[in-house]
């Protein structure tokens, strides 16, 4: 701490993942013994996170349609080479990011009262002169960046858009857009989609879960969907896509979609009821759409959840996803501790929720707390079918950790009710999650101070499995 620059350099190098073992020990010791160092560390990370947020927003300023065209070729090489430290940093400093995001917290915080105030919106997107699409559904925390650079955190149903980028900021985010020709596209979870229509619909899915119902497109002008690893050409069909920087999973329900893998130019036509997973090397072979299953267990020992801080397994404890703070913009006095785990469709068959199944959530708590629990589901076509909460209908008891800090909670599917934040469009959604496909789960506490919530395992158990296992 004698040399301020040296100390800042140490933090900087930590954020870049470049510290040697001895430097890690030095940083740990400083943080353990020096309150000023701790405060400065948090402040430094906060600044870097704010820089990232502000610069990302400003980098959307040029026309996204132009960016789509200009970056088509270079995007993948660039994406593939990106370091992950910023993501780690953003995870560590999520308190700042979530303070910037709207919707989810507010809805979660007030969901017990059954309030979903969609009218309390003060800023609306500017209606474009050349609208290409209209928002037909949304929920959760979303940010829309228009193609003229305007940034809107409070988007609403019915707004006409000329194009731009929509970002789902939280595991329960969801957004549906209808183009003027009736084609609909949807993203859910932490996703990022840029869309444009200059005579030909063109989209770029940077990451996340995307589905579409596309009416027949003009000859020679298929809908184009760019992902980090593929280019999809769609003439008219129903399908869903799950993409990240390393791979793209395409599942076609109706019609046909052509997939071109960018790394080697190989193409394959994916017909109805088939899917293909495009990764860096391997085969690009068609697979029949897998049969669904009724049992699912999180795999946190293999991969992180989609929201929160991932704690890999150690010799002393199992891997877990730790809840991180989330502060509603509308209600900054509320801090929730939230984590999310997505149910990947790339790694296995679709998981169908049965009415007589139950979720078992296991993990650790630093103190007794109510553990709130929600799920997102879609129908077999990948279309969003609703978000449901397992802790509302049935008065959720306080979970008390045992002497080792462990807890276990059971949520029965029969008790799940529509999440208050999507009740305003309940006519379009399912009444219950029964027989729908599980997309993701999330859990949070609302205790006014850190609860230490960590989830090590979430399991969906069907009655057959319980009988089979003699439970």
């Amino acid at each position: 701490m004698n040399d301020k620059n040296d100390w800042e350099e140490l933090i900087d190098r930590h954020l870049r993942g470049e510290l040697k073992e001895s430097e890690k020990e030095r940083l740990t010791e400083l943080l353990d013994t020096n309150a000023a160092a701790r405060q400065e560390f948090v402040e430094h990370v906060r600044w870097d996170t704010e820089f990232a947020e502000a610069l990302r927003e400003s980098s959307h300023s040029p026309s996204d349609a132009d960016i789509l065209a200009a970056e088509r070729a270079e995007t993948d090489a660039k994406s593939a080479s990106k370091p992950t430290f910023l993501r780690l940093m953003l995870g560590a400093a999520a308190v700042v990011i979530v303070a910037l995001s709207a919707g989810l917290i507010y809805q979660l915080a007030y969901s017990e009262g059954g309030i979903a105030d969609t009218n309390n919106l003060t800023t609306q997107p500017r209606v474009s002169d050349v609208s290409i699409a209209r928002i037909t559904g949304l929920s959760g925390s979303l940010i829309w960046t228009g193609d003229r650079g305007q940034i809107v955190r409070d988007v609403k149903v019915g707004t006409e858009l000329a194009g731009g980028t929509i970002e789902g900021m939280a595991p329960d985010s969801w957004f549906e857009l209808q183009f003027n020709d009736g084609s609909t596209v949807m993203i859910s979870g932490t996703s990022m989609l840029t869309f444009a229509d200059l005579g030909q619909k063109e989209m770029r899915l940077r990451e996340g879960i995307f589905s579409a119902n596309v009416v027949p497109q003009p000859n020679g002008k298929p809908m184009l969907i760019h992902t980090p690893s593929t280019l999809l050409e769609v003439l008219g069909t129903q399908f869903d896509v799950e993409a990240n920087q390393a791979s793209t999973m395409l599942n076609v329900t109706e019609g046909k979609v052509r997939v071109r893998r960018l790394s080697d130019g190989r193409e394959v036509d994916v017909p109805a009821k088939h899917r293909v997973i495009a990764e860096g090397g391997g085969d690009l072979t068609l697979q029949p759409a897998p049969e669904s299953v009724n049992h699912w267990k999180s795999q946190l020992h293999l991969q992180p959840g989609c929201y929160g801080k991932w704690l890999p397994a150690t010799q002393q404890r199992a891997a877990a996803q730790k809840a991180i703070p989330l502060v509603p913009r509308e209600n900054p006095s509320v801090t929730l501790y939230l984590l999310g785990i997505s149910v990947s469709r790339s790694d296995g068959p679709p998981v169908v929720v049965r009415p007589d199944s139950q979720f078992v959530v296991r993990g650790r708590l630093g103190k007794p707390a109510k553990v709130h629990f929600g799920i997102a589901v879609s129908d077999a076509n990948g279309e969003f079918a609703g978000k449901f909460r397992g802790d509302l209908d049935h008065q959720q008891p306080i979970s008390k950790p045992d002497e080792d800090g462990q807890f276990e909670v059971v949520y029965r599917i029969g008790d799940f009710t529509l999440d208050p934040c999507v009740r305003d469009r309940k006519e379009d959604l399912a009444v219950k999650p029964n027989d729908l496909v599980l997309n993701g789960v999330w859990a949070f506490t609302h205790t006014g101070s850190p609860s230490g919530l960590e989830v090590s395992e979430v399991e969906l158990i069907s009655p057959e499995r319980e009988v089979h296992e003699g439970k």
């Binding site: 600044w47 704010e50 820089f51 610069l55 660039k78 990106k82 910023l86 303070a99």
Partner: protein, 105 residues
């Protein structure tokens, strides 16, 4: 020796993780809504004042998440020049935001 090194390495990682968690638990204070808005506005204004080349460096680092080497290749700078530029630019912008907020008060 390798196994022992691995164990020690993971221990160092774990201890650092715990220390960082504790720091965030102690000092994570969400800004009030109004404060956050004016703070972000000040940050946006200060970033706009950064010369074009500096903005390129910041954007490459924070928006495009490039490594120092990749930034250097893109902008024709050495890694050391990138490191120094980032350090200096961040300091300038922080100072600009703090001054701007103080003046507003």
């Amino acid at each position: 020796v390798k196994q022992r090194h691995q164990r020690e390495r993971s221990l160092a990682e774990r201890l650092l993780d715990d220390a960082i968690d504790a720091a965030f638990d102690e000092f994570q204070m969400a800004r009030q809504h109004d404060e956050a808005e004016s703070w972000r506005e000040a940050l946006r204004r200060c970033l706009e004042r950064v010369p074009e080349r500096g903005q390129g460096v910041l954007r490459a680092r924070f928006a495009d998440e490039l490594s120092y080497q990749q930034i250097g290749e893109r902008l024709g700078m050495t890694i050391e020049a990138v490191r120094k530029a980032l350090f200096r630019l961040k300091k300038q912008v922080r100072s600009c935001v703090e001054t701007s907020l103080r003046t507003a008060q």
